[in-house]
Symmetry: C2
Subunit: 670 residues, 2 copies
């Protein structure tokens, strides 16, 4: 039998050269990071990671996030070797169409990929969210003697991850929140694409993390397995603070160009690959070599995982016998199910005769109604909760001393907020929501894109959705944001016209299981559309409907609006009717939902024969041709806003019923 | 005569109550920060800031950036009191339509506002860019005994600014680059909107900045003018490191609700405003009181500024007599003029018979050709220079030891890169450019929006512009980005189809004086369109043109494309022609420019009578109805991409000539 040290070395080189060979075969990819970080990752997976390759969905597994997603072959190799359903053939199909092994790890493509990474900084912040999820679930469900939630979150990150602002934001929050089960292994190889990190990144990363309130362990030599293991041990030992383990590594270790940027993002090339094998004492062939003793050793993860999961299941059974209701709730939450009756009472929140109410305020009521029934709802705002109306009343704050609170204070950190929400969602057990002004959606587009890509149920509450916010002026007035968000595939953008549509927006957001929803809400008060007068409101969940029309028969003109401007369209429709025109008003709160309706329904709302169409929205006009075509008109804002009381801005920028009527009359005269 | 201490106090209270009264009158705004930070800002402006209120454009003035833009009344009060053309009437019109005093400081609205702030973190990072501009200009133009560039950059920032990731990114880079003339005053009031910073921000900010390589001074008591002055002195004394001066202040100082979140963002209310006046010994009326001695004292800034600017002008004259050519170049750069002949030779870069070339590579050549003649070009990439082709050959790196290099290494910090570019642009003397992959434009939208709002000439080089990047997969493949960027008002988005169009894109970007341009470039090689065969290419600067048509006469069908897909449209057009159709192919590299052409030109390219139109672009279809209407079709990608060799992805997702032909034939059959 190979001695332990030699076996470790063999395993590590197997990981390295699976990565090298896969990149060579694909003729594309990143060999440098896997070669350098293989020992660190190996120690973690071999000696610490609690997981069951046969059941990647085991809820109490430790989570491993490869924030440096370009090192994907490191992860794929580990998944293959430890017994996940990732075969050698999959590794050979690295970066090919339809394979389980895309260039960067994509959640859903290979089992064991917890979250999609690649855009730097995201995985790190996802890890913070995952660790928060664990602590929040533990606080809610563990009982004395019953630790049914108890797992660690490990992140492997690179220099580039730690340069990104989103990681700084998340790290500062993680320190404040005391996320003691979060361990971040920093692959400190001091090389980025443009060269040495001295060019751009001379900071003392350890000191920075200490300032955030983290435990910092190391630096340790990333080749010294004992030292790495000891450091991880130390990291695990501090249950009150997240830990950063600084591992000094050598990018492209073993290759002729090790320690240079050249080994970062391109295949080594056949000659250099062979030379690396020679240097590290690896057979030059065959490619994709997995020595039997490596396979044997690493697949012990299956036995260990099986035993650990069985033990957990026994403990869960014991828990269930003592806390039956909690156990059921826990299981349903992990399955992503909302409790029966979660939407009870919503339709009655804003009955006939309700006073005008800002949709942000309506949203706050809806959120609280749902949250009272659905404990999975967990979120908060980037320091704008009083404005966003995102607080769950009486539910406490999630804080270092008390992880049972349901209100997250993200601080002024929109980007980390979005990434943390993704972490909560991929962990499972939560329907995360976030809050900020719509204009600051720009700060968090990268994680929103990833939520859409991963198909995560995340709810974004974006208030102050237009020039309607008034005096704060153009920096705070979204103009292009609505359309920019509508352009994101698989992101539902819902801009309700009133409290009733807000209810439908929340319902639609929670009913979705396959992607995120942005709720776009007004600062200013809006009249409540009485369903008796406007029965269509209850169809807002279809994304669009006939709000009002002047009478029977084919309309001469259709006016379209969303949010606060649905009321502008309504006023214009009534005015046109008063002038003898057959006018129809269409409310279009969610384009994605409306476009997903059967053609028949869509054409019943927007009959193709009626080409005289005027849209009105307090945002850019680009995109509205999707509904009004080249024959129609859009009353919108193709400039930045202005600072003034909002009624003035609406008037000055012409977002008025009069403008809509004027455009409609021009169309009708043609 | 009032004694000095009493006079200082009087000045400070004047600032405070101008802010309070303006917010009261507007019934909207942020009194808390001005009340708390007034002493700090006063010390800076009274004792350190070198500026000339009579000439806000004096090139060698110190720069003051109010990163905490919500404290706008603090700045407006200082501008008014020191003699800028900001009258008391302007303060009374705070936050009203058309006033010089919008809710947040908007560059261009009031003299002395260096940059538009409000979105937190941006001003801080702008300050880093401004300080870089000063050092780069000094390195280029100063000569022994002639320090014609020598000014400081001061930033006043809040807790919220320092929570934002963009500030972290910029701070880390500023430390690495040794920006010794950057002084950041941190208004450490420990309150944000949701409450105490203990909720979210327990970190040791000073220790964090020390880790970045900054000098950290303080904390000092923000009410102790001597201590604040001493701290700024100390900050100014370290010429090798940027400095953070930590000033402990009390938000809403003097008001009944001081030190609470309640005084952050709402008027105090009449009673509380009066009580604050009473507490601080201020007359309850009149409102907007400026005691004569305060006016006298603070307007000394005019005399001092006049003397300082005259001195500088004399020194500049002495410099000019010794270094005539340099002085001319310096002046032209500050005036934003490019040297005559800056575009010489561009048209010949890619002559007939040129090999296929990726537009990113073409862009690199164009950049280098221009940079050789225009020293104002200054920029770099967020660690992707070798891929973005953004390096200026042989021009060295801008680094701590040597500020004469023209290549900026931003590190993996797209957000700070965008904000720093804004700082370079508002400083003057530079045409900044940035580089990253198009997909990461999402990381830097907030500063791009501000560049568009301020009308800054910034060039964004975005490469790897589609699924054409291939194996890196969906996280790295932009899909919605093109349309999302086109939605931003005043941002030109230019996606060239070949090297020749790339030349036109760069020309258009530099010819613009009133806004930024995004150049969207391919990773993959594209054939060069020979101007002899495709004479329209030279009109690419109009944003759109007829690339090719099958013959004379009105076309039956128009095919539209941008970038790499212009070639797909071209192939489809030829195929349709082969099938006997009269087809026209239109290249539309820049929608903003095309839409700005006279109607006659636009209709000559896209005759309204021809409604059979098919667009093709490797991105979302939303928005293309702007050109193809409801009668046309778009071949696009309404999903995320995939990891595979790019040719495979194009085939699998149907971005092919065959798809375009098929759609066109359906339209022609109708």
């Amino acid at each position: 039998m190979t001695d332990r040290n030699a076996l470790d070395e063999l395993c590590i080189n197997t990981i390295r050269f699976l990565a090298v060979d896969a990149v060579e075969r694909a003729n594309s990819g990143h060999p440098g990071a896997p070669m350098g970080a293989a020992p660190v990752a190996y120690v973690l997976w071999d000696r610490f990671l609690r997981h069951n390759p046969a059941d990647p969905a085991w809820p109490d597994r430790d989570r491993f996030v490869l924030s440096a997603g370009h090192a994907s072959m490191l992860l794929y190799s580990l998944l293959h070797l430890t017994g996940y359903d990732v075969r050698l053939e999959d590794l050979k199909a690295f970066r090919q169409w339809g394979s389980a092994t895309p260039g960067h790890p994509e959640r859903g493509d290979a089992p064991g990929v917890e979250t999609t990474t690649g855009p730097l900084g995201q995985g790190f912040a996802n890890g913070v969210g995952i660790a928060m999820a664990e602590m929040a679930l533990a606080a809610s469900y563990n009982r004395p003697g019953h630790e049914i939630v108890d797992h660690a979150t490990y992140v492997l990150c690179s220099d580039g991850d730690l340069m990104e602002g989103v990681a700084s934001e998340a790290a500062s929050l993680a320190g404040t929140l005391g996320l003691g089960k979060l361990v971040c292994l920093y692959d400190d190889n001091r090389i980025t694409i443009e060269g040495s990190t001295d060019l751009t990144f001379k900071e003392d990363v350890g000191a920075r993390f200490r300032a955030y309130g983290w435990q910092v362990v190391g630096p340790v030599d990333g080749l010294d397995l004992g030292a790495v293991g000891g450091a991880i041990e130390e990291a695990r030992g501090d249950s009150g603070r997240p830990s950063l383990v600084v591992c000094r590594t050598t990018i492209g270790y073993g290759s002729p160009k090790e320690n240079t940027a050249d080994v970062h993002g391109s295949p080594l090339g056949r000659d250099a690959a062979l030379e690396a094998k020679t240097r590290l004492g690896w057979p030059r062939e065959p490619e994709f070599l997995v020595p039997d003793e490596v396979a044997d050793h690493m697949r012990h993860a299956l036995d260990r995982g099986d035993a650990e999961e069985r033990d957990w299941k026994e403990r869960l059974a014991a828990y269930a016998s003592e806390y039956g209701d909690l156990a059921v709730e826990f299981s349903e939450r992990l399955a992503g199910k909302l409790p029966a009756g979660w939407d009870d009472g919503l339709d009655g929140l804003f009955g006939p005769g309700s006073d005008a109410v800002a949709t942000r305020a309506a949203s706050g009521k809806v959120l609280n109604s749902i949250a009272a029934k659905a404990p999975a709802l967990f979120g908060g705002s980037a320091d704008l909760a009083p404005s966003n109306k995102t607080s769950i009343d009486g539910a406490g704050s999630f804080a270092a001393g008390d992880h049972s609170g349901r209100n997250i204070h993200f601080g002024v950190r929109e980007h980390a907020m979005g990434s943390i929400a993704n972490g909560l969602a991929v962990h499972g057990g939560f329907v995360p929501y976030t809050g900020t002004f719509l204009t600051f959606s720009d700060y968090m587009r990268p994680p929103m894109r990833l939520a859409a890509m991963m198909g995560l149920r995340v709810v974004y509450v974006f208030t102050h959705d237009s020039i309607g916010l008034g005096e704060d002026g153009p920096t705070h007035q979204p103009v292009e944001h609505l359309m920019s968000l509508r352009a994101v595939p698989n992101l539902s953008v819902f801009r309700p016209a009133d409290a009733g549509e807000t209810v439908e927006g929340w319902k639609a957001a929670l009913a979705r299981r396959d992607g995120p929803t942005a709720l776009v809400l007004s600062r200013q008060k809006l009249p409540v559309l009485d369903p008796d007068e406007f029965p269509g409101v209850r169809s807002a969940g279809r994304g669009g409907y006939v709000l009002w029309e002047s009478g029977e028969g084919q309309p001469e003109v259709i006016l379209l609006g969303t949010g606060s401007e649905a009321h502008v369209a309504l006023a214009a429709g009534r005015e046109l009717a008063g002038r003898g025109r057959r006018a129809r008003v269409v409310s279009l709160p969610c384009w994605q939902l409306f476009d997903g309706q059967p053609r028949e329904y869509r054409e019943s709302v927007l009959p193709p024969a009626v080409t005289a169409r005027v849209a009105v929205e307090a945002g850019v006009t680009l995109g509205w041709e999707h509904y009004v075509g080249l024959a129609g008109e859009t009353v919108g804002i193709d400039r930045f806003g202005a600072s003034a009381p909002y009624q003035t801005i609406y008037e000055e920028l012409g977002i008025t019923a009069a403008s809509v009527v004027a455009r409609a009359e021009v169309l009708l005269r043609v």
